[in-house]
């Protein structure tokens, strides 16, 4: 095994090793049990007092969702306002301009929904103030929103009948103070020692060997990058994201960033098991997610290492793999691994140029986002996966001759209806958006969108909508996307792609929580078994394949076969 592969295996193993105890800790936090970080309690209480929130009052699922949507709306308005006037605000040493309305709309939404689709470039598009009080702030709170929603799900799946599912603000606050903030500080310190800039000075000037002077953007990068990964946000400080030497200086920081973006989603899977005292169930979920992840990641690593046949045809040596768009300091396997990791878990940060990946690697990145539940984003990954569980429970319940049950609650028409709506929504958003884009570009090929016509251009547009719907934020950046069509269309997809897959699963969980608890019997289908794992996997595979096969056939698959 070459060292590049060992590096990847090491990164995965390390994350898993850290995620299990961390999951136990998260379960404790949401259960309200004693933890090491209880010294934050007075601070939390102070915040609650100032905001006039009674964090002890239990809410039902609807109240929680109203609270969630309300604070999100406030953040959105705040962020959009700041972005539109940032040029006149302080902390702008580079003199960057204010954003146009459509770009500010897209950016504010994009960060609020934990997506971080960036139609601007960090160096020139935003000021330090915006980076910190808009973007970094949203990176914290959007991740905490997802985690708090997942905490409500945990609570709802307990073995009892209730409509009281804890206090949303309490979960939200604790996600920040007990999980995201402490981890961010630790990671930031590691970054600082690896030379990541942390300054409020403007551009630095260096003189190159030829004697030219070059302006180099810097900024408070080390503060920004930890939460970008820990919160599965992915929005880079700089335009080229984690391929930028200041944002990801070396292989070691590459490891840290990969572990950082992976750890919370993975830990949440285990937290579910610790919280409900169903650890086997967690391992089943972990198994399904990991198989799905590996089915995407391994082929990508192989394909990228094999290089590009079209370039090989020109007589270029492909022994180090398809290096177009990749950083030499990371190499093909680590880049391929990152590209799938960042797409399965809705981070969307990149250390290589996804647009340059082999066609089927690009397809796998899209598939990762179409599923959006193999680990998935901070908290929301589990919510997405929950929808697949409900569908799998329903079909398999029928297959064993019993009204479907999940963790002692009957799954009936209403829950199925919500699950169907959530599934439908992503199909509509991705393909509907794509159809409109395809229609426009066909009608007017002169639109400045596509640098690559044909199949690859199709993939670029498909990727953009997929990324927006999955709240991922990465892109096939060959797409010219900073224009009203893309800003507004993806902005709408972002909002719907965020909140429907949060509200839907929470609604199902809330309804289930209110149902009578049925103790397990020998006729009950156990959901923590290998068989049920296979069933979920089959559901995910079938739903995704059937929904997206024609679109993928016209993009990456057609490109692949044309290439060979």
């Amino acid at each position: 095994m070459n060292t590049e592969i060992i590096g990847v295996v090491f990164m995965f193993g390390l994350t898993l090793l850290l995620a299990i105890p961390f999951g136990r800790y998260i379960a404790k936090v949401y259960k309200g049990e004693k933890t090491l970080l209880d010294f934050f309690t007075p601070l939390e209480n102070a915040f609650f007092r100032i905001s006039g929130i009674n964090a002890q009052r239990e809410m039902n699922w609807k109240e929680s969702m109203v609270a969630l949507l309300t604070i999100n709306l406030v953040w959105f308005l705040f962020a959009m306002f700041v972005l539109m006037v940032q040029g006149w605000l302080p902390m702008n040493p580079d003199g960057n301009p204010s954003m146009t309305a459509d770009l500010a709309f897209n950016t504010a939404i994009s960060f609020m929904v934990n997506c971080n689709l960036q139609h601007y470039s960090g160096e020139t598009g935003v000021t330090y103030l915006s980076q910190l009080i808009c973007l970094m702030f949203l990176q914290f709170v959007s991740a905490a929103t997802g985690l708090a929603a997942a905490a409500i799900l945990f609570n709802a799946l307990k073995e009892r009948t209730t409509d009281k599912l804890g206090n949303f603000y309490n979960y939200f606050m604790k996600s920040l103070t007990r999980i995201l903030l402490p981890l961010s500080i630790v990671v930031a310190i590691i970054f600082l020692f690896n030379g990541m800039p942390m300054t409020f000075e403007g551009k630095d000037t260096i003189t190159s060997m030829q004697g030219d002077t070059v302006q180099v953007s810097t900024g408070p990068v080390a503060a920004f990058v930890p939460i970008k990964h820990l919160g599965t946000n992915g929005g880079g400080f700089f335009g080229t994201n984690s391929a930028h030497p200041f944002e990801n200086p070396n292989y070691f920081t590459g490891i840290v960033e990969m572990v950082a973006q992976f750890i919370v989603p993975l830990a949440m899977v285990f937290a579910l098991g610790f919280y409900l005292n169903k650890r086997k169930f967690s391992w089943m979920i972990f198994g399904v997610m990991t198989i799905g992840f590996l089915c995407l990641a391994i082929p990508n690593m192989i394909m990228e290492q094999h290089g590009n046949p079209a370039i090989a045809h020109m007589g270029v040596d492909m022994s180090s793999g398809a290096m177009e768009g990749k950083e030499v300091r990371f190499g093909t396997p680590a880049s391929a691994y990152w590209s799938i990791l960042t797409t399965v878990i809705s981070t969307g940060s990149v250390n290589s140029f996804h647009d340059s990946f082999m066609p089927l690697s690009g397809m796998n990145q899209m598939l990762a986002m179409m599923v959006n539940g193999f680990y998935g984003g901070c908290g929301v990954g589990l919510l997405n996966f929950f929808i697949f569980i409900i569908i799998a429970v329903f079909i398999s319940g029928l297959m064993v001759g019993r009204t479907p049950e999940f963790l002692g609650k009957k799954v009936e028409a209403r829950e199925v209806k919500i699950a169907v709506i959530v599934t439908l929504m992503s199909a509509i958003l991705i393909k509907g958006g794509m159809a409109i884009a395809a229609y426009w570009i066909t009608a007017d090929p002169s639109l400045p969108w596509l640098n690559n016509p044909g199949f690859h251009g199709f993939s670029e547009m498909l990727y953009e909508f997929t990324s927006a719907n999955a709240n991922n934020g990465s892109g096939f950046e060959g797409l010219g996307d900073n224009n009203p069509f893309w800003n507004i269309s993806t902005g709408i997809v972002l909002i719907l792609g965020r909140f429907i897959p949060i509200i839907g699963p929470i609604a199902i969980a809330g309804i289930l929580a209110g149902k009578k608890y049925i103790p397990e019997s020998a006729g009950t289908l156990k959901t923590d078994t290998l068989t049920f794992g296979v069933m979920i996997f089959a559901v995910i595979f079938i739903v995704t394949a059937l929904s997206y096969f024609p679109a993928l056939a016209l993009g990456p698959i057609a490109e692949f076969f044309s290439m060979h």
């Binding site: 319940g397 064993v400 009204t403 439908l424 409109i436 009950t524 068989t531 069933m535 059937l546």
Partner: protein
């Protein structure tokens, strides 16, 4: 039990003919719309009709040749007919079944009695049974056929119910008590009864059942609704796929014909399960009917599959009728043969099943015993013993141990220690001791035991594997009950049960989230039958019991509950597995149609044509043909139901996932390829 076999072939000619007719009638969009999946197919078919007409009339070849369009239209039309036929044949079978029961009660003369004050005159007028109203009273004498359902208000009679139950042995029905109900179509073999009509014409359980099967009052069951939503969801997903594909194809400069679009769409949406869904539901009720169970709603059958707890009466279900004598234990100093003689003497006049079983056990020893001139002492609740007084002055008594003991001790005789010990042993073994005395001297003890039905513990085992808890209900004391419960293998028991105990037990189970089924016949069972999630009333039971339950068992067979649970499970499983199969089929259909759509504009996509189908037209035709013929091919499975095996839920899922999931992926690849080979001969 000599039950009449109700297994008819799946496709009887007259039923098929009727179903074919109905398949066309059901094309009416107003009926179709109840089934969203097939309704969308109907819309697609209508569009294809226009396209076909257009291509024939205009001669415009841009939408494919007229022949090709016509072929697609015809196949889609067939798909609709097949789906309708599936529903119609299920209905026809159910109706035929119900009709055969109903025929037994067609117009028979009824001897209607006139009311005179509170009683009824003995004179009657003869009217047609169809004229009988609820509350009328009619007379039935030896040889009469009972004109309609009712309750005996006076008299006792032996009745031949074989027309309904298939059971040839006559049964006794009498006024009062729990055996007072008679069914129309059955025949009085002896005696005379006065019967009050309990249902208005057209409202009997059978009539309700027929209405359910015919669809007039058939409501979708909760699981069926949920499944319909899921299928509608899939249909919508594929609608989006097809609509957006138009724009994608425009981008790829590909012209897709309407026929190809509609074919893709119809192939993708879950037509297989959509077409068979209602047939499966009807077939479930039909299977219940074939088991001689009349269900009042489809929901009841479905609920039966979910039952967690089953309340079963001990007598008749777990044990064969009554106790039997199994052993004679003489007291010390008494010869066994003498004791046996005494037992026989004390029992010869005893008409109870226990008494008869003592004679049976004695065998040939009972032959030369005579009780000529003896006087019988009947059992009374006071003495709790019975026996004979012989002409020679000997008095034989047998009865409950404490009663005989008291008798003996009053007369100054001792109760032998050994016998007392034996009594103890018999009691703890779940038996009943009967002590026999001669002239107040203890002779010994007879052991009576409940005989557990052969094979019943295997059935309970099967139930346990299904996850159903069995509870035995008995009037016995807790000790006896516990013994029998253990021996028969039930999970729990209610001893010294009163009707309110049953009720309390059911409530308790339901409170902890369980679904309970029970069977009952008496009026005092009615509240519990109503409370239970599945209440099966015996046909012989009172009208109140039948009204309270949601099923009626025509055979009066208490073990029927087990069958009902399996029928319920089969119903759900058939839906689940066919849904899986239907959706899994789509993988192959994609591989057939998608390369066919883009063959001209994107030749590279030919690599996806892994089945090597000969041409785009034949690929599309093959996929649609496969999609159509799979429906009739699966009708037998839909009607018979997927076999239920009690191997545990996970193992069952594994099995069905393998057969219907993996099979559903693979079979269409083979099927479509074969059809393509055939179709390409004609293209």
């Amino acid at each position: 039990m000599s039950k009449r076999q109700r297994k008819a072939p799946l496709f009887q000619r007259e039923l098929v003919n009727e179903a074919l007719k109905h398949a066309f009638v059901k094309l009416n969009p107003r009926i179709m719309v109840r089934n969203p999946v097939m309704f969308t197919v109907e819309i697609g078919t209508a569009i294809m009709l226009f396209v076909t007409l257009y291509s024939i009339i205009s001669g415009d070849g841009s939408q494919g040749s007229p022949g090709y369009n016509l072929a697609i239209f015809l196949i889609l039309f067939l798909t609709l007919l097949f789906a309708n036929f599936a529903e119609a044949i299920a209905e026809a079978r159910g109706k035929a079944q119900a009709d055969s029961l109903r025929k037994t009660r067609e117009d028979t003369p009824a001897k209607i009695l006139l009311r005179s004050g509170d009683s009824y005159t003995e004179s009657f007028t003869i009217v047609s049974s169809s004229k009988l109203k609820k509350g009328d009273v009619f007379l039935c004498e030896t040889g009469d056929t009972i004109p309609t359902d009712g309750e005996i208000i006076e008299g006792i009679a032996t009745i031949d119910e074989s027309a309904i139950t298939g059971e040839s042995a006559p049964v006794i029905r009498e006024a009062g008590g729990d055996k007072s109900s008679v069914t129309g179509g059955t025949k009085v073999l002896s005696d005379k009864i006065k019967v009050e009509v309990t249902t208005s014409p057209g409202e009997s359980f059978l009539d309700k059942m027929i209405a359910l099967v015919e669809g007039a009052s058939r409501q979708k069951t909760p699981n069926e609704i949920a499944l319909t939503i899921l299928l509608a969801g899939f249909t919508l997903i594929f609608t989006i796929v097809c609509i957006t594909l138009y724009f994608f194809a425009e981008y790829a400069h590909t012209q897709i014909t309407i026929a190809a679009y509609i074919s893709l769409f119809v192939c993708l949406i879950p037509t297989t399960i959509g077409g068979l869904l209602s047939a499966i539901g009807i077939a479930g009720m039909d299977r219940a009917l074939r088991a001689n169970v009349i269900t009042k709603s489809g929901k009841a059958v479905e609920t039966a599959g979910d039952i967690d707890t089953l309340l079963l009466d001990k007598t008749g279900t777990i044990t064969i009728g009554n106790r039997k004598a199994t052993n004679f234990y003489p007291a010390p100093g008494i010869q066994l043969s003498d004791f046996t003689r005494a037992c026989v003497l004390s029992s010869l006049a005893d008409e109870t099943p226990e008494g008869k079983s003592i004679i049976e056990l004695a065998g040939k020893d009972a032959k030369n015993v005579s009780i000529d001139g003896a006087t019988f002492v009947k059992f009374t609740a006071e003495t709790r013993s019975s026996g004979v007084n012989m002409p020679d002055g000997r008095r034989f008594r047998k009865g409950a141990s404490d009663a005989i003991r008291k008798m003996a001790e009053t007369a100054g005789n001792t109760f032998p220690l050994e016998t007392a010990g034996r009594i103890e042993v018999i009691s703890t073994d779940g038996g009943t001791p009967l002590v026999v005395a001669e002239n107040d001297r203890i002779l010994g003890v007879i052991e009576l035991q409940d005989i557990i039905k052969p094979g019943i513990s295997e059935r309970f085992d099967r139930l346990r594997k299904m996850g159903v808890k069995t509870v035995m209900v008995t009037g016995d004391n807790p000790l006896t009950a516990k013994y029998i419960a253990e021996k028969a293998g039930v999970d729990d028991f209610i001893a010294e049960a009163k009707p309110e105990d049953k009720m309390a037990y059911i409530r308790n189970e339901q409170q902890s989230g369980k679904l309970v089924a029970m069977m009952g016949d008496g009026t005092n069972d009615a509240p519990a039958l109503a409370q239970a999630d599945v209440g099966v009333a015996m046909n012989s039971g009172t009208a109140a019991a039948k009204e309270a339950g949601n099923m009626v068992d025509l055979d009066n067979d208490p073990t029927k509950l087990i069958e009902i649970v399996e029928i319920g499970k089969q119903l759900l499983m058939t839906r689940g597995t066919l849904t899986t199969f239907s959706i899994a089929n789509d993988v192959a259909k994609y591989f057939a149609i998608v390369p066919a759509l883009f063959i001209t504009s994107i030749p590279a996509l030919q690599a996806l044509n892994i089945m090597q189908l000969s041409s785009p037209e034949s690929a599309i035709l093959s996929a649609v043909i496969f999609n159509a013929i799979i429906i009739p091919m699966l009708i037998p499975l839909a009607l018979k139901g997927v076999a239920y095996k009690p191997i545990g839920a996970s193992a069952l899922l594994q099995r069905n996932l393998f057969i219907y999931g993996l099979g559903g992926v693979i079979i269409p690849f083979i099927g479509i390829k074969l059809i393509d080979l055939l179709v390409s001969l004609f293209l």
